[in-house]
Amino acid sequence: MNLSKRRGALVAAGVAAAMVLSACGGSDDNGGGEGGGATGGTFSMYINEPENPLVPGNTTESEGSQVVKSLWTGLIQYGPEGEVEYTGVAEDITSDDNTTWTVKLKDGWTFHDGTPVTAQSFVDAWNYTAYSPNAQGASYFFSNIEGYDALQAPTDDEGNVTGEPTATEMTGLTVEDDTTFTVTLTDPFAQFPVTVGYNAFFPLPESFFEDPEAAGMNPVGNGPFKADGEYVPGTGITLSKYEDYAGENEAQADGVEYKVFADLNTAYTEVQAGNLDITRDVPPDAIATAADEFGDRFLESPSSQFTYVGFPTYDPRYQDKRVRQAFSMAIDRKAITDAIFNGTRAPADSAIAPVVDGYREGACEYCEVDVERANELLDEAGFDRTQPVELWFNSGAGHDAWMEAVGNQLRENLGVDYQLRGDLDFSQYLPLGDEKGFTGPFRLAWAMDYPSPQNYLEPLYSTAALPPAGSNSAFYSNPEFDELVDEGNRASSNDEAIEFYNQAEDVLLEDMPIIPMFFGLEQAVHSENVSGVFVDVFGQVDTSQVTVNS
């Protein structure tokens, strides 16, 4: 027993000594790191854990996407306003009929393993992503390419896979030569060149197909940064500048370290301490003080995020569009964004976000508060005000407060009581919506994949997008709307397309299957160590343009 007592004392002394010693060491390190960066020129950035391995075709969420966009460059890139810029791999993308597109590539592009980026790199990658046994999240992005259906495994009524797909390559993709390939679509789609900047369309090197699983951890792309070592879940990945990058927007810094943080608050504290350089997210309770604390290192910019409240148009109670219009006019969005979101969201006044070319200020007539007219419409429609309105949202995601505010406004302005139905989490909430299970207005949101008004209309409200294949949870179906979107897709010029899309939006906002609620605003802070930080319309930081201050 004596022995163990002594050992205990030794441990205690050791711990104490270690505390003192490393305390000094710790502050030394901080001092050195801060002023340093002499030769380094690297910076660090917060991400949350990506949902999937770093494979472009399986990355459909913001965290993985941020990393993938540092590692890859697609056919085109988007400018600060979301406009198409031919600074990527494509020389041009042309078509006579908006159906068959010819993609010409620039010479000299290479993957990080030294192999050239060819037409085949794109075609193989797209076929891989579309082929359903590969279970890639972005598969549906290729559904408008000819031959896509043959790459989908047959299933029975219960959703069991019953066999293999009949083909492994889409007939709509043809390699002409090393730097040219053609894409044949099932329907004319003038916006096609706009879509191919999305990460689902990035090329893959030959080495990827030998072992896709390993490639997800050791990604090889063609972008301004290459991976230094593998991705470590829960920790992150370190990238360094790719010296042979062929694009114009080469990396300014020598490297970027993506650090995974489970808790945004911790990441924010690290930026305050100067140990972390960028977070493109600010904890909600720190937003009020962040502007003062960080000054011009606090950035706020509009994002593509669009929050809306949908109506179950399959429910007789909400089938009359006057009811839906009345609800919309009874909600004071500005009051909610000010009181609940501290101004970190903007009240929505259209169904297309302001970051997209084609947004019209005040496009939504019924988004203006007009209690009197709302009540008139509700009376005309013969809405039963004695029954409470059930308001649906998914739990644990911070929607309680604003949905309750919506309910309070409906009660106050329309004299109809409400009931909150916010107890389902996302994995129950979404299937319920797909099965027409909502018994009242429900919350959903959307973030664009590519900057086109089409991306805010067709995937959300078209007949083709009805669940389970699409996101049309309101089960809205109007041939006039479908037709106008289709006209926009066929249009010969962008201006003409926007014209049609806006007409489609007008039809939508007259029928009001959804109430536009808010547009997102993106907040970011960065340390004094870096400059040139800019959050784009996708809510991503273009890491190639970040410079490290010496």
Binding site: P53, A135, A273, P467
Partner: protein, 307 residues
């Protein structure tokens, strides 16, 4: 003793089987469609959904799913998460971090807790005793989340004594989170030791020892402490098993990629294979350290014999 240990270890097999089935059934019973949630605002292509459901046997009934899981496990395959990453990799990568955190926390709670408890116990109602009582009451009553953020803010950000988060600085990175994690148990150990020591100080054999003229130090250490440690060892031993299961809050706040976070994420995503793999491991740790505690009883108290 050897036979006793062997028998206890053999018994863990049915316990682990039963536990893994229960956990499997619980994940299975969770409502909702995990694959639908993967897609989010935009549903996955129908054939992709079918593919994923088939890969993870989600269309099978519970019994079949469990048997398939056991079959794979017999071949050393613990399955993968929805990202296709083997559960074994997740465990081998994250367990060392949780073990380090546990070692630091247990060391802090045992050393400081027992020392404070003994000093308070032999001088009951002294100033030091009151300090221990008040400070432990205070620590126990503060939720660990609050404690973690306060510690991080004061010692990490303001004073700069410890890293704010992460594991870059080796063992030193684990000191502050270890302290936060240990705080609740530390208070408990201190109080347990104090009560036990105080009680034993009045026992007949202690009076006898004093009457024999033994020095105070010998009386306290050889006679009192040894007998007082049995309840403390039980508690600390069980605590090791619990802490190895991961500390979700501490790991999240200090950004330590350990087991706790992995299991939290897996439960949220309804990844059955991950939850079962890790929780079964936790059950094993718990059983194992309880066995260690039982064996230690015999060492501490010669009257206890296992045959």
């Amino acid at each position: 003793m050897g036979r006793y240990v062997a028998r206890r270890l053999l018994l863990t097999i049915p316990v682990l089987l039963g536990a893994s089935f229960l956990i499997f059934a619980m994940v299975y019973a969770l409502p909702g469609d995990p694959i639908r949630a993967l897609g989010g605002d935009r549903p996955l292509a129908p054939a992709v959904v079918a593919q994923l459901k088939q890969e993870f046997n989600l269309n099978d009934p519970l019994g079949i799913q469990y048997l398939k899981y056991l079959g794979d496990m017999a071949q050393g395959d613990l399955g993968t998460d929805f990202r296709g990453r083997p559960v074994l990799d997740t465990i081998s990568q994250r367990l060392p971090i949780t073990i380090k955190l546990t070692v630091v926390a247990i060391a802090i709670e045992a050393v400081i807790g027992i020392a404070a408890g003994v000093l308070a116990g032999i001088r009951r109602n002294s100033f030091f005793d009151n300090v221990v009582l008040v400070s432990t009451t205070l620590v126990v009553s503060i939720p660990i989340l609050v404690l973690a953020f306060i510690a991080q803010f004061v010692f990490g950000l303001r004073l700069g004594l410890f890293p704010i988060s992460g594991v870059q600085e080796g063992w030193y990175s684990f000191l502050l989170p270890g302290f936060v994690l240990a705080s609740g148990s530390l208070a408990y150990v201190a109080r347990l030791t104090r009560t036990s020591v105080a009680e034993n100080m009045r026992a007949d054999y202690v009076r006898t020892a004093r009457a024999k003229g033994l020095p105070n130090r010998t009386v306290v250490i050889r006679h009192t402490l040894r007998n007082s440690l049995i309840p403390v060892v039980t508690f600390v031993g069980a605590d090791i098993g619990t802490l190895l299961g991961g500390a979700i809050v501490t790991e999240s706040v200090f950004n330590l990629p350990g087991i706790g976070r992995a299991i939290f994420d897996a439960v949220r995503a309804q990844e059955g294979a991950v939850v079962v793999g890790i929780v079964t491991l936790m059950v094993f740790f718990f059983i194992f350290f309880n066995l260690v505690v039982d064996v230690l009883y015999a060492v501490l108290d010669p009257r206890i014999r296992y045959e």
